[in-house]
């Protein structure tokens, strides 16, 4: 048997999921091991990509269009790495956060299947295969959403399921049209196709499906409840990682099937702006901490689409980088934030924002982590979120798109406003019931979110290497 890292990245979590399901008592150990192996495989793959550029494997030895190929370039590996690292830390915190044996027993196989699906998406080069992958993701994600078993979670999970199925079906129909038009399904084929109206319609269908899955305003309706009611590790995975899969497919597709015209790009940007404003207002009104964080995901998705739409003067070849930076930044920071919110809820006993300051228990370290994550999400220097926002605004300004700059700034102010509601709850002490419990920092469970939050901030200092890594294998360059 000869392994290559591409296959290993896919199969390690898959075998892990199978083993974790068959041996429920050892689920946690198996799961953690599988995630570790996946991390190693991603590292190995990154090394190969660094050395030789994009890596491709035609599975079964059948070259596309007949067979399916896996391809890893800089962008794909960056997404894989983000997923693996965030996944590893979320896994570590799940060991503590999920106290019921039953939750542990189901969390691991579902999460590993989710990881399989996401890795498959990042490596996929075939639109039908991507459809199957997003379904793997969808089912596992719904399973994770309802892990807590509360009525609200199940209700939110059902809405999520409807949206997910519908999004996938729209995507499938788009795939059907692509086949009808081109007779092939691989990216290469899409890339060499003559642009036509029918192809644009097919692309539009797929894009709508993806927007539904990634929850771009106004198709975001299912997201806040689903992300707010899941258990903390699940929320972290859903918000930090899962929505990124559809976003990534969107980024890829729009390279291979360029969006037909400026109007559509503007439309997408406008929806992004809508998300930033509407999500911001809803976050200001949210009564519960996790709900606020979930709305902030809606805002951030909008921001990523603005980054995508602002295009700059050189179009997508430039703007995807800002979008990719924001995707990575949000993945890391939001996972940290949800884990921290979960810790706060655990310690305080509730997550009603206006009553946070009544608690005499102050989980200092979790609060600190939350604040650090907020720095990246607001986009304050030197975090990766800041670098992403800077790239966005720089491009927009250079291209003279002042309205996008304005929307971004308003969004930033809104985010300061809604996060400062939370900070006030952390730092106010005169409404406390009873004596302040002595400094309860340094719980082991805080280490994972803290690491993530610190990573979100310090990755900003590494933006230049990250950017040059993203460009390996010309993911969006002149020679795809």
């Amino acid at each position: 048997m000869m392994l290559d890292p591409l296959t290993l990245v896919l199969f390690a979590p898959l075998f892990g999921a199978v083993a974790a399901f068959v041996f429920p008592r050892a689920a946690a150990a198996v799961g953690l091991g599988a995630v570790l192996v996946t991390c190693g495989a991603v590292l190995w793959l990154a090394q190969q990509v660094l050395a030789a550029g994009a890596v491709t494997v035609a599975l079964g030895g059948w070259e596309p269009p007949l067979g399916i190929a896996l391809r890893a370039d800089g962008l794909a590996v960056a997404m894989l790495a983000m997923t693996a690292v965030v996944g590893l830390l979320v896994s570590a915190s799940a060991l503590d956060a999920l106290r019921e044996a039953r939750q542990q027993q189901y969390f691991w196989p579902l999460w590993l299947l989710l990881l399989t699906g996401m890795n498959g998406v990042y490596l996929g080069t075939d639109v039908f295969n991507l459809y199957v992958m997003i379904e793997v993701i969808a089912l596992a994600a719904v399973g994770l959403t309802v892990l807590s078993g509360t009525r609200e979670a199940v209700r939110a999970g059902l809405e999520y399921m409807y949206a997910s199925i519908l999004g996938a079906l729209l995507f499938l129909l788009g795939v059907g049209f692509v086949y009808l038009q081109l007779g092939r399904l691989d990216f290469e084929g899409l890339n060499s196709a003559e642009p036509s109206g029918a192809l644009s319609a097919a692309l539009a269908l797929m894009v709508i499906g993806l927007l539904l899955k990634t929850a771009l305003f106004p198709l975001h309706f299912w997201l806040p409840a689903a992300h707010a009611n899941a258990t903390a590790p699940a929320s972290a995975l859903l918000s930090g990682l899962v929505v990124k899969a559809a976003l990534y497919i969107f980024l890829r597709l729009s390279t291979y099937m360029p969006l037909p015209d400026e109007i559509l790009i503007t439309l997408i940007g406008t929806l992004g702006a809508g998300a930033v404003l509407w999500g911001g207002v809803q976050a200001l009104r949210a009564e519960r901490l996790k709900l606020l964080v979930a709305w902030s995901t809606v805002v951030q998705i909008g921001l990523i689409f603005i980054a995508f739409a602002r295009a700059g003067q050189i179009g997508l070849t430039e703007s995807w980088k800002a979008a990719a930076l924001l995707i990575l930044a949000h993945g890391v920071a939001k996972a940290a934030m949800f884990l921290a919110a979960g810790r706060i809820k655990d310690e305080v006993g509730h997550d009603v924002i206006r009553d946070l300051d009544r608690s005499s228990i102050r989980p200092t370290l979790a609060q600190f982590t939350f604040a650090l994550a907020a720095i990246s999400i607001i986009g304050l220097p030197p975090s990766l979120g800041f670098i992403g926002k800077w790239s966005l605004m720089e491009g927009a300004m250079a291209a003279g798109y002042w309205h996008w700059v304005a929307v971004t700034m308003i969004g930033t102010l809104l985010s300061v406003a809604y996060f400062s509601r939370v900070f006030a709850g952390f730092l106010r002490f005169d409404r406390m019931r009873g004596e302040l419990a002595e400094h309860k920092g340094w719980a082991v469970a805080d280490i994972a979110p803290l690491t993530l939050a610190l990573a979100a901030i310090s990755l900003g200092l590494m933006a230049t290497p990250i950017l040059s890594f993203l460009e390996l294998g010309y993911p969006f360059g002149a020679t795809p």
């Binding site: 730092l427 002490f429 005169d430 400094h439 933006a463 230049t464």
Partner: protein, 509 residues
């Protein structure tokens, strides 16, 4: 073989010790690295915390002194790496940076001593000193930022690090003040981000260069350059408390006394004023700024702020509020000196950056002592406090008289140069302004001194004020510095001398 090794070792040794190219970074890291350690210390480890604080603060003063000597000898420090393609994170130690970094290092040491005494048994000390340390790191970063981008990074860090300090008491009032503070400064920071981006897009660089980087842009697009000036100075004006962006400063008075002292003397308002200096001198260049027609309005705005702040100060009964409005007024002297576009006024502005810091920190620490020792928080309660706390009140009086501009105290020196500069720039109104302002200063400071020394106490003074040496000594020390920098203004390595050195560079004489 051995020779090569020896040679290598010598080079290494030489580069590390004698030149120490990373010295600015070490200075930054002293407080930056101390911060997580301080956060992590348990609440009860008070002695260890105090030890670390004082050691690091003293170490920083020593390092800054070394750096100052080196820069005086003409050594150039420049540390940079790419954050984004072409966009650098850059630390440099030019004479202007040395000026500000020395101020912050020395006053941090003093304030640290004071804070240790002040917070002896207060809650959340780990948090306090962690952020305190971070705040000083941010100030050092602001001082040594080699371009506007780096400046922006530390400027935002400063906001984030001071917010928890402002709301340290955790009361509803503190949180309200904190929210106002956060909204003002983060909005200002956002506008600064916009300005930095604009500069980057227009000029392709954000470097601080004496003489400015915008000559070409001004030739091409005058309007854009003017807009950029308004955006940048407006953004910095928020922290510098220029009218009409000053409202956050008086509300932020709920902060504990050492925080107020730091905010007013070194950290926040000074960061704004220092930023205006960098932008006018080294982004636009004083000649370009003048050619754009932007300096005169800025001078006028500074003038308005000076008078407005003083007028408001008179009506305040709360001591700290009165001092806060006084800061609004006094910090604008710096802006005024910059905006007058005369090298002599610039000397005054730079000197005032230091002098105002020394004077104001003395007064805030003294005010803190009054509140701690006697429970006196209002001007109307100050009757007879001079006899109850003579050391503190002597320090306070010296600083107040210096503020008014009594020769040969510190305030007089800066005002003198500002007035000279006004004449030099052909702006005679500055003389009137300074006179008027000094009169107003007298109007709100002298009654305090009168009450303290010449009125009988309405409160029963305790036999021994309940403050330890850690509270009593710092204001006295800074008051002595006020006396020194005024009295020995022309001594080598006095702030004034260094200021002349800086101005020579900025005006490219």
């Amino acid at each position: 073989m051995t020779d090569t090794l020896t040679e290598m070792l010598t080079t290494l040794n030489g580069s590390l010790l004698s030149d120490a190219p990373l010295l600015p970074l070490f200075i930054l890291l002293t407080s930056l690295l101390a911060s997580p350690v301080l956060f992590a210390l348990p609440e009860s480890a008070a002695r260890l915390r105090a030890g670390i604080n004082l050691t690091v603060a003293a170490l920083k003063v020593a390092l800054v002194g070394w750096l100052g000597i080196k820069v005086g000898q003409g050594v150039v420090y420049d540390i940079s790496f790419n954050m984004l393609p072409g966009l650098e994170f850059k630390l440099q130690a030019d004479p202007l940076a040395i000026l500000f970094v020395s101020l912050s290092a020395i006053l941090w040491l003093v304030t640290t001593v004071y804070s240790v005494g002040y917070l002896e048994r207060g809650p959340h000390r780990a948090r306090f000193f962690g952020f305190f340390s971070l705040c000083v790191a941010a100030t050092v970063g602001i001082a040594m930022a080699g371009n506007l981008f780096t400046f922006l990074i530390f400027y935002e860090l400063l906001t984030l690090a001071t917010y928890p300090l402002v709301i340290h008491k955790g009361s509803a009032e503190a949180l309200r003040a904190g929210r106002i503070y956060l909204i003002y400064t983060l909005a200002g920071g956002l506008v600064l981000l916009l300005g930095t981006l604009g500069l980057w897009v227009l000029a392709g660089t954000t470097d601080f260069t004496p003489g400015g980087v915008l000559e070409d842009v001004v030739a091409e697009n005058r309007l854009a350059a003017q807009a950029l000036f308004v955006v940048l100075v407006g953004a910095l004006g928020v922290k510098a408390a220029l009218v009409p962006f000053h409202a956050w400063l008086p509300t932020a008075m709920v902060a504990p006394a050492p925080v107020s002292a730091l905010l007013h003397a070194v950290a926040v308002v000074k960061a704004g004023a220092f930023g205006i200096m960098r932008v006018v001198y080294e982004v636009f260049g004083i000649e370009t700024a003048q050619a754009l027609g932007m300096t005169a309005p800025l001078a006028a705005l500074a003038g308005v702020t000076i008078i407005y702040g003083s007028l408001r100060a008179i009506t305040q009964d709360d001591i700290k509020k009165r001092l806060a409005y006084s800061t609004v007024s006094q910090v604008s002297y710096i802006t005024l000196g910059v905006a007058l576009a005369s090298p002599i006024a610039a000397v005054g502005a730079l000197a005032h950056l230091i002098h105002q810091g020394l004077m104001k920190i003395t007064m805030f620490m003294a005010a803190g002592n009054l509140a701690e020792g006697l429970g006196v928080k209002k001007v109307s309660e100050m009757n007879g406090v001079g006899r109850a706390m003579p050391g503190t009140m002597l320090a306070f009086s010296a600083a107040a008289l210096a503020m008014i501009g009594l020769p040969p105290l510190a305030g007089f020196v800066s005002k003198w140069y500002l007035a000279q500069g006004g004449l030099d720039a052909g702006a005679g109104w500055v003389i009137a302004l300074l006179l008027g302002s000094s009169l107003l200063n007298a109007f709100y400071f002298l009654p305090m001194l009168y009450r303290a020394w010449f009125r009988d106490g309405t409160i029963e003074a305790p036999a021994r004020p309940r403050i330890g040496w850690m509270l009593a000594a710092p204001p006295v020390a800074t008051a002595l510095m006020v006396l020194f920098v005024g009295g020995f203004a022309n001594a080598p390595f006095s702030p004034l001398e260094w200021t002349r050195f800086v101005v020579a560079i900025e005006y490219q004489e």
